[in-house]
């Protein structure tokens, strides 16, 4: 590997600053009293405390999953603080009331909260450590009946909706990390698109972990009623700490008849340094229920951060003719480990799913695609198309594919294609001989490789993702 290329790869993580904001941090450790404390701090109703305690009881009986293709020291769940909130008056009427230091943080992150956001026409909810800080455009969205607010506000203002849908897609006993999240989640976003409404703008949430020993356990719930549609964007960053932070989020999507939910993520949690020290453990459960006929749920993710990623955004295709999609780019560098993919569970008739997964491994990283396509006996005429492509950069990285296919209806059609390629020295030399330097060459090759996924992203996110990938890969080829 050439020295110039080495230099570029070793550029520091640009989101690795800590904001100097006073935080209200809970003592480390987890037991029933922690959960009661979290619930009390947030003035939660009894039913929610019950939900938490039941989840906690379930979690206690579960064991940490170890089947993923990732290696890390055992997590001490008692060494984590389960609540951290910026100290300030929680009620904000407008953006002007937000702590200026916090706003500067978001400026550093490139999150344009003010006019820039207005220009982009995106409504943003910001989750800082565990608490939702500000939601823009609330009033405008309310005019068309769209509810977009922090999870805590939703619990207060729309308890009937939360009670109706919370835990219906991902029951709290679903898996170890989902149970943990259900017990201790602090905030997140709630989004409700009523019958027949096409959400007039993209909705967006930015997550940030700012405290060294706190975990982040946010919870997102999106419901699209009959004929409704919404495009939702999620971005994540965290400062650089030498310790590891746990991020165990849960995202539930519900699409009723003819509803359409498009969920896009650009995940850039701190990945640890070039020696694999520090970084976020990103153990996330995301699932959509395509409940109604002709409903559609589409996941698009660009995963570039985190020391470890364990994430399988899935779709349960319950309604007849419903559609599930998963478009993913996962990039790992240095010592990052990603085990990510999807599950497409076909239950309704003529359900269709598409999986396009692009894994890029550089440095000494390990990148695994793990996917399940399950066709239930009821899913007559179901179809799936999966394409998993891996690209290796350098000679010390690993790419793995673990496809699981389970077909119980003989009218179903399932296709799986896979490929592995390598950015080789000869390709780089070809570019160089045409005057193109290594950075531009890598960026062009990677963008070509990820094209099918990037074109699924909303425009401003596509640009961000393209830049992010080039930035992350700088110098890894040579």
């Amino acid at each position: 590997m050439s020295a110039a290329l080495q230099n570029i790869i070793n550029q520091p993580y640009k989101h690795g600053f800590v904001s100097d904001i006073e935080s209200d941090v809970a003592a480390k450790g987890l037991d029933e009293s922690t959960i009661r404390m979290i619930s009390a701090k947030r003035n939660e109703p009894e039913w929610l405390l019950d939900f938490r305690l039941k989840s906690y009881a379930a979690w206690l009986k579960m064991t940490e999953p170890t089947w993923q293709n990732a290696h890390y020291p055992k997590i001490d769940f008692q060494a984590i603080s389960y609540y951290s909130a910026p100290k300030q008056k929680p009620k904000l009427k407008s953006m002007d009331e937000v702590d200026p230091e916090l706003l500067r943080t978001f400026e550093k992150l490139g999150v344009p909260l003010h006019e820039r956001m207005a220009l982009a026409g995106v409504a943003v909810d910001v989750i800082f450590d565990s608490v939702s800080v500000a939601t823009t455009y609330k009033a405008k969205l309310a005019e068309v009946g769209v509810i977009f607010c922090s999870f805590s506000e939703a619990v207060k203002d729309h308890p009937e909706l939360i009670q109706k849908y919370l835990g219906t897609v991902i029951p709290s006993s679903d898996n170890f990390y989902a149970a943990l999240n259900s017990a201790v989640f602090t905030d997140g976003s709630f989004c409700f698109i009523p019958k027949g409404v096409k959400c007039p703008m993209d909705l967006s949430t930015y997550f940030r972990i700012n405290t060294e020993e706190s975990g982040q356990f946010e919870r997102t719930l999106i419901v699209a009623e009959e004929g409704a549609s919404v495009s939702y964007l999620e971005g994540c960053t965290a400062p650089a700490f030498s310790s590891n932070q746990l991020h165990a989020a849960v995202v539930e999507l519900v699409a009723l008849d003819n509803a359409d939910i498009k969920y896009s993520t650009v995940q850039n949690w701190y990945a640890g340094d070039e020696n694999g020290v520090g970084g976020i453990y990103n153990f996330v459960t995301k699932r959509g229920l395509a409940k109604g006929i002709n409903s559609r749920i589409s996941w698009t993710q660009v995963e570039t951060g985190s020391a470890i990623t364990w994430k399988y955004p899935s779709v349960v295709l319950q309604g007849d003719n419903s559609i599930g999609e998963f478009y993913s780019v996962a990039l790992t560098n240095h010592y990052q480990q990603a085990d990510t993919g999807t599950k497409m569970i076909h239950i309704g008739k003529n359900t269709r799913s598409t999986i396009v997964s692009k894994g890029i491994s550089a440095g000494k990283s390990n990148n695994s695609y793990r996917g399940l396509v399950k066709i239930a006996p009821s899913a007559a005429g179901a179809r799936n198309y999966s394409q998993c492509d891996s690209m290796l950069i350098g000679s010390e990285s690993g790419a793995h594919t673990f496809p699981y296919i389970d077909v119980r209806n003989n009218t179903a059609k399932v296709e799986h294609e896979a490929s592995t390629s390598k950015i080789g020295e000869d390709q780089m030399f070809y570019f160089a001989q045409r005057g193109i330097d290594a950075e531009a060459a890598v960026s062009m090759i990677i963008n070509g490789f990820c094209k099918d996924v990037f074109q699924q992203l909303p425009l401003e996110f596509a640009v961000e993702a393209t830049n992010l990938l080039s930035f992350k890969l700088e110098g890894s080829v040579g």
Binding site: S2, S421, G424, E425, D426, Q427, F429, Y430, F431, A432, Q433, R434, G435, I436, D437, A440, M444, I445, G448, F449, K451
Partner: protein
């Protein structure tokens, strides 16, 4: 063509290069002037392809001694992309496939990068489209060529034409054609040669590296050099190529032994 007022484009002196410790080029000397076309011929393993890659700066080769001056500049101090921007072009023997990268975007990035480095105007996508289509006519290329990925699924002939197209776009002062004739049928050979002949002028120089005399029927060289074991051991006019074709490479090596 040989012009009286020509200037030296490339001057190679006592060049030795090795790959993974094995010497390949051993005291290579070579000079070419503007307006000239030279052919370097030799058997497999004689070092002729190594020579073209070394000129372009391939990272696999280590220069152990010698010098290369390119238009008066020390070529060995320049990175491969700087050499390309300075006007050195290599038409590859095996142009590599770059899956997923759109050919037209690649060509535009190439062209604009080189242009801006030469302090010239870059072209926007529409202007570029006109420009590249015009050049494509020269090489009788199909329209859909621009929409495909770089060299992706191209036939041997298409790959070589793509190389010459790039040469036509970049207008290098020195073009090295590495086995451009290999894998070409007669029609493709004619088209490629026609393209090269139209690009040759009194300000640039062309080096053809080849095995066979065949290409030289279409692109007539001013000088022919024979490479054996990492250096040029015989040089002459275009008739040397014909003599080689009739008498074989052994004739030159044997002649050398007798002289020694």
């Amino acid at each position: 063509m040989i012009y009286p007022d020509s200037k030296t484009i490339l001057e190679v002196r006592g060049l030795c290069a090795s790959v993974e410790g094995t010497p390949i080029l051993k005291n290579m000397n070579f000079t070419i002037k503007s307006g000239e076309i030279h052919a370097i011929m030799g058997q497999n393993g004689s070092g002729k392809s190594t020579f073209s890659k070394v000129l372009a700066g391939h990272p696999d080769y280590e220069i152990t001694s010698g010098s290369i001056l390119f238009e008066g500049k020390n070529l060995l101090e320049l990175a491969p992309e700087e050499r390309a921007r300075a006007g050195l072009f290599l038409a590859f023997q095996y142009p590599i496939e770059i899956p997923g990268v759109n050919n037209s975007q690649f060509l535009r990035l190439m062209y604009n990068t080189v242009q801006s480095n030469r302090g010239k105007e870059e072209l926007d996508p529409l202007e570029f489209d006109d420009f590249v289509r015009d050049k494509m006519k020269l090489l009788e290329m199909r329209e859909d060529f621009l929409d495909r990925s770089v060299n992706g699924g191209f036939s041997g002939g298409e790959k070589k034409r793509n190389e010459i197209l790039q040469m036509a776009m970049l207008e290098p002062s020195l073009a090295i054609l590495d086995e451009t004739d290999s894998g070409l049928d007669i029609d493709a050979l004619r088209i490629v040669a026609q393209g090269v002949n139209q690009l040759a002028n009194k300000d640039n120089a062309i080096v053809m590296v080849t095995h066979y005399q065949r290409l030289l029927n279409y692109i007539v060289p001013d000088y022919v050099h024979v490479m054996v074991d990492g250096r040029i051991i015989k040089s002459g006019g275009k008739e040397l190529a014909l003599e080689l074709e009739q008498r074989g490479y052994h004739w030159v090596s044997d002649e050398l032994k007798v002289a020694a």
